[in-house]
Amino acid sequence: MEYWNPYTETLPREKLENIEFSYFKNMFSYAKTHSALYRDKLKGIEADDIRTVHDISKIPFTYKEELRAYQEIEPHPYGGLLGVNIQDVTTFRQTSGTTGKPVYVPETYESWQWRIESWCHILYMAGFRPRHRVFLPFGYNVYVAFWEAHYASEKVGCELVPGGALDTRGRVNKIIEIRANAMMNTPTYGLHIAEEAMNMGIDPKSLGIERMLCAGEPMPEATRRKLEDLYGCETYDHIGGTEVCGWAGMCKVKKGLHIIEPFFLVEILDRETLTKEVGEGEQGVVVITPLGRRSFPFIRFNTNDVVVKGHSNCSCGRTSKMIMEVVGRADDLRKIRGVLFSPKTIEQLIREEFTDIVEYEIVVERKGIMDEITLRIETTPKLGKDDVENLTKRLKERSKVKTNLTCKVKVEPQGALPRYDLKAKRFKDMREVK
């Protein structure tokens, strides 16, 4: 069968939107009566005031800073974010804290199972089936996507192998030992496992991984294709967040991500005013309302994720709204010498055109009154001095074309740059370091 839920995944748009509107109103009422945050925030707005889908835009956004502020009150540690009695909470989750103090996320058995059901769509779309032995090469710790992946794999019927407490070589050996044929990882770590396998004299293709689902970082198309080439496998992307769950996944057509409807009401709003839904092919900020999760209700959460909106007529037959590309987090887009710069552009360039670069880092510094970008790179050991010089020259030229900014290139010795298991931090804006 092609779909996880053929009923909801192929509903006509109008019906899906009606269902989501009805679910939104229910969640609005629930949040207002069960969460301290929304008792305060939605004062003066009633569910009956939301008569049409256009009225949703009158409801204020929720920002991460508000979540942080309201979790400071009792009951500890969730405070005013809780939508249930604290005794009903069965699992603690938290955000990674990349952008500040972590947000603590309460899950009841029900809300966790709701998340897992949503995640099953992501896995099934990516072709994960009961025949797959799925290796998760991490100790998951606070990274909720991998916990979701773990439980959703079980629910879909795969055989799940947790791969924590091993180093990368140990994981390569484990994949061989148990004959894992599917894997879920960050794109960065997928590349690193392949690199380490090659250092061990093992062709990553011989590992037998036939399917890979990536999480945790925006993945340029060139990186996705590189993973496919390295492992000889099908590689899929998805997007999600600790607060909201995985909310969109890639089908076998591999042209964008399907939003998991009707689990989420997803608005993609213009970046300047956040008031208008953008058109197909335009960039916008994602605002999400999970429509059935009661332990931690939130309404119109501004994720700060910037995406390119897609169509809703994928040849796979799903009728869900789509996003064509994840551009990155709005916080990652920086003005450098007056030009808007996205670190993802550099990643796309390196993965696509500079396959001899095995690791890189982007450093932005202020020198006097000028901002300066340095691309620190590590190349494969096989390159000679002339090759490295040519590569450096070409990277300077191509990065200028792609970003409209002049970048310095610094070649580092083997192993000088950090390798990452989970979220890679390859972009360092030193202008912010006081």
């Binding site: 009606n18 058995y109 199972q113 709701w114 059901e117 009707p262």
Partner: protein, 55 residues
């Protein structure tokens, strides 16, 4: 067919609620009945009714 499915979900819900109330003094049975109700919440969520024609 969806009507039949929704009807069956409602039947199971009634049974699970009854099971829960019958087992007030038995943690194991009550908790398992509650877990059935959790999945019924999800089953209802993924079999939505969108309008009168579908009631």
């Amino acid at each position: 067919m969806m009507d039949e499915i929704r009807k069956e979900i409602r039947n199971i819900e009634k049974s699970a609620e009854r099971l829960k109330s019958l087992a007030k003094d038995n943690n194991a049975i009550r908790k398992n009945a509650e877990i059935i109700l959790t999945y019924l919440y999800i089953l209802k969520f993924i079999t939505p009714v969108w309008g009168e024609e579908d009631q």
